[in-house]
């Protein structure tokens, strides 16, 4: 199966997890990754301290200051550095608070996907037979349905779009890659001598699964998780854009782009700024993720 094979390719070469010092030394060499990490840290800090940092409440409507441009434009006001939206809410404060939602979605999806993905992947690899087939086919099925359509369908089933439902929908959509990854790397590990040796030595299969095989599959999963966060953020933003994500007045970035769409010509900052925030966040996560992969996977680094 090509899908498995391509995913498995980098893993086959994955070395034993290196110690943190080694990893850091290797990571530090990659300027892009460090830059990504720095920007990402800033975003995370902004998200955590949004209440303190933001000049205004993200929800307060300044009815006398509707659709103000960013401060450096004519008609701008330094009380609202990045301007205000159609309801007179401060863009900067909304974007700062929006970081919380995007990161929260990204991290939750990642956490739930890892837990479910590792569980299902190991189960499939170890049980084999019909259970393996069933899990693999279901994953094929999820992959076959265009992800956005599936996510929308799930939200339609759950009724009343909300942040939590976005997380559920995006998790389901992103599950297959974790499951496939874990299954493929578990299978390849199981073919190795040390597993055979452990089996011969009579190690119980649950123990074998969790203690012996799993740690050796973790490196690719960590890399996948880092990159998965950025995909989850994008997917959730798309749902927000379509009005199927976080509900008003939540300052979620995708929803801000969607709600501001009509102002793209007359007051473009209402649309461009939240979109830019998504882009910068995703880029920094991807840079970081690439660096992580290179550091954890020395062989790939060369290319």
């Amino acid at each position: 199966m090509a899908a498995d094979v391509t995913l498995a390719a980098p893993i086959a070469s994955s070395a034993q997890p290196s110690s943190f010092a080694e990893f850091w030394a290797s990571f530090r060499e990659n300027k892009g990754a460090v830059a990504g990490l720095v920007v990402l840290s800033l975003i995370v800090l902004t998200a955590i301290f949004a209440d303190v940092l933001a000049p205004h409440s993200p929800l307060e409507q300044f009815r006398d200051a509707v659709k103000l441009p960013p401060a450096w434009y004519e008609g701008g006001n330094w009380a609202f550095p990045l301007g205000t939206d159609a309801l007179g809410r401060d863009m900067l404060s909304r974007i700062m608070h929006g970081a919380r939602y995007s990161l929260f979605i990204g991290l939750s999806v990642m956490a739930v996907s890892i837990v479910c993905g590792v569980g299902l992947g190991l189960l499939a690899a170890f049980s084999g037979g019909w259970l393996d087939t069933a899990i693999s086919r279901v994953m094929d099925l999820i992959v076959a349905i265009p992800s956005l359509v599936l996510a929308i369908l799930i939200i339609a089933i759950l009724q009343n779009p909300s942040l939590e439902k976005t997380i559920v929908a995006v998790t389901v959509v992103s599950l297959p890659r974790y499951v496939r990854l874990v299954r493929a790397s578990a299978l390849s590990e199981m073919g190795k001598d040390y597993v055979t040796a452990a089996k011969v030595a009579g190690v119980a299969s649950l123990r074998l699964m969790l203690r012996t095989v799993l740690p050796n599959c973790l490196a690719p999963v960590i890399v996948q998780a880092a990159l998965g966060v950025s995909d989850a953020i994008l997917e959730a933003a798309a749902l927000g854009f379509l009005g199927l994500g976080a509900q008003p007045p939540t300052p979620e970035w995708g929803a801000m782009v969607g709600d501001g769409r009509e102002f793209i010509r007359s007051e473009p900052w209402i649309v461009t700024l939240p979109g830019l925030a998504i882009l910068v966040t995703v880029i920094s996560i991807n840079l970081f993720g690439d660096g992580l992969r290179d550091a954890l996977d020395p062989k790939l680094k060369r290319s």
Binding site: Q61, R63, L87, A156, N160, Q247, P248, P249, I264, S266
Partner: protein, 531 residues
């Protein structure tokens, strides 16, 4: 004989060459906001779908273009008898049906076509009744099935409608799109071919344009009919381009990809008005947007609470930031364009302090958690329900009310709202025929049931008595008096937070002439021309 045939062939060939798009052919592109469900006006209810087939058809009586006045259509004249229970129509002679790709009519319009068009909707055993699903919503909504007992063909050009009771709005109903007259001959031909459902996909009628083609979700094309009974329309090719997003419609209009568009975004209007290549047309709409409270739920049963809510919302801000120029603040449940509008009513002021005091007086402890339902879609009376909801939410928080914004998919939203699930919710109404009853029944006791239109569940004896009395009366002055009193009741009882009556805007290229904006939301190009 032969020469004549030759001549007519030549003439037709020439006409076809002209129609095929030489430099002289005039083409108009109307940018429509959605795809039609089908091409039968009796089977659809939205103006979006109706606009797609309207130009193919005529009705017995018609609305004069740009007004709600009735004028003769396919019926030249009519007579009432039997105390208004019998209506006799004299049909117009020599009216031709338009041709489509697979069908060329051989006979003129006559009584059979009228019988076919009405019996299809009226009689459950009519062979075409169930074709295309058979959902004749408007016909049923208007109680036409109960009003019309039967149709009778006296001769080829005389038809009699037998009614179960005298009904004043009946004639106005016949001018609505669902009463369009289709071709019985076409139906027979399709039955023979075994493709009856074609009748609602490739429409044939007596209207100014004939249908050429439809590419799903993209474009609908019509061609002007030289043999239309009112004369060939000036615009040769009428093209409907389907463009759901208003911002995109505007961009296309500017780029010359559209000639006319409806439903602009209010925020685009200032720019449109500045643009010399465009003309901005507007007319007060026959509608009202409101926010209402379920009086069967506490604490909304207390009129003081309702009044407090009315005073808590900054209506002026909503008008400014949601409607822009496209709305006027509403103080009554009917728009000022409808007769009997009570202009003496004074709207509740925006007064946060007084609202707080009223809440306190009513014994409501704050913070109070309520839900506020906002519509998931934009409607003619409400350009942005979501933004409106966010503004209301912010205003309510100032008097200590936490409103949770809730919405559902549109069909589901309306259903649940009508089941009385919401505490408070937004909705609105667009009038069908300009009669005040068409608005006032919304607050009647009959509608205050599960699944009924009266979401406030408001049922006031004195209001109800006046409503019934006005319905039966034929004296317009007496009716007006009653309706004015009913508006006072609605105001005192604070049943609705009446938000706005929207102004309907349509934007066209400057070279479009003779076009008239319709109070009923119709888009008609038969009398229009391009400079």
């Amino acid at each position: 004989m032969k020469t004549r045939q030759l001549m007519s062939t030549l003439g037709m060939a020439m006409a076809m060459c002209l129609a095929a798009g030489g430099a002289n052919a005039k083409a108009l592109v109307y940018c429509l906001e959605g795809s039609p469900e089908n091409f039968n006006p009796a089977l659809t209810t939205t103006n979006t779908s109706l606009d797609a087939s309207r130009h193919v058809y005529d009705q017995l009586v018609e609305f004069e273009r740009g007004t709600t006045n009735l004028i003769p259509g396919l019926a030249e004249s009519w007579e009432f008898s039997d105390g208004g229970k019998t209506v006799l129509f004299h049909l117009r002679k020599g009216v031709k049906f338009g041709a489509v790709k697979d069908f060329a009519p051989t006979r003129d319009f006559n009584a059979d076509d009228v019988l076919f068009s009405f019996n299809r909707q009226l009689k459950a055993d009519h062979p075409y009744h169930t074709v295309t699903g058979g959902k004749f919503d408007t016909f049923n909504d208007m109680d036409m099935g109960k009003i019309i007992q039967s149709l009778e063909k006296k001769d080829d050009y005389t038809v009699v409608f037998h009614l179960s009771e005298p009904n004043a709005p009946f004639m106005a109903n016949l001018a609505m799109d669902f009463a369009s007259i289709g071709s019985a001959e076409y139906a027979d031909a399709l039955t023979k071919k075994g493709t009856p459902e074609q009748i609602d996909q490739v429409p044939v009628g007596t209207g100014p344009y004939s249908f050429v083609s439809y590419q799903k979700d993209t474009v609908i094309r019509f061609k002007a009919r030289p043999d239309y009974f009112r004369g060939k329309p000036a615009i040769d090719d009428y093209i409907i381009s389907i463009v759901p997003d208003p911002t995109v419609r505007f961009a296309k209009l500017k780029a010359g990809e559209c000639t006319l568009m409806g439903f602009p975004r209010p925020s685009d209007l200032p720019e449109m008005e500045k643009d010399k290549s465009l003309q901005v047309m507007h007319q007060p709409g026959l509608n009202v947007a409101y926010w209402t409270f379920n009086e069967q739920k506490k604490p909304f049963d207390d009129v003081r609470v309702r009044r407090a809510l009315l005073m808590a919302i900054d209506k002026a801000a909503i008008i400014r930031d949601v409607y822009g120029n496209t709305g006027q603040a509403a103080k009554n449940p009917i728009p000022p364009t409808i007769w009997s509008y009570n202009d003496d009513i004074k709207d509740y002021p925006y007064d946060t302090e007084k609202a707080k005091a009223l809440l306190k007086e009513a014994g409501v402890t704050t913070p109070l958690d309520i839900d506020l339902w906002y519509m998931p879609v934009q409607r003619p009376y409400n350009p942005n329900p979501k933004r409106m909801g966010e503004m209301m939410q912010a205003d309510l928080s100032k008097i200590g009310i936490n409103a949770k914004l809730v919405t559902y998919e549109w069909g589901e939203y309306r259903k649940r709202l009508q089941q009385g699930e919401a505490m408070t919710g937004q909705l609105g109404w667009t009038g069908d025929n300009g009669d005040p009853d068409n608005f006032f029944f919304l607050l009647g006791c009959n509608a205050a049931r599960d699944g009924g239109q009266n979401i406030a569940r408001f049922c006031d004896k004195s209001y109800e008595a006046k409503l019934q009395k006005a319905r039966q009366s034929t004296d317009k002055e007496e009716r007006a008096q009653l309706y004015e009193e009913m508006q006072t009741i609605a105001h005192d009882e604070a049943v609705w937070f009446t938000i706005a009556h929207s102004v309907v805007y349509e934007i066209a290229k400057a070279n479009l002439t003779g076009y008239k904006i319709s109070p009923l939301g119709r888009h008609e190009f038969a009398g229009a021309d391009l400079k």
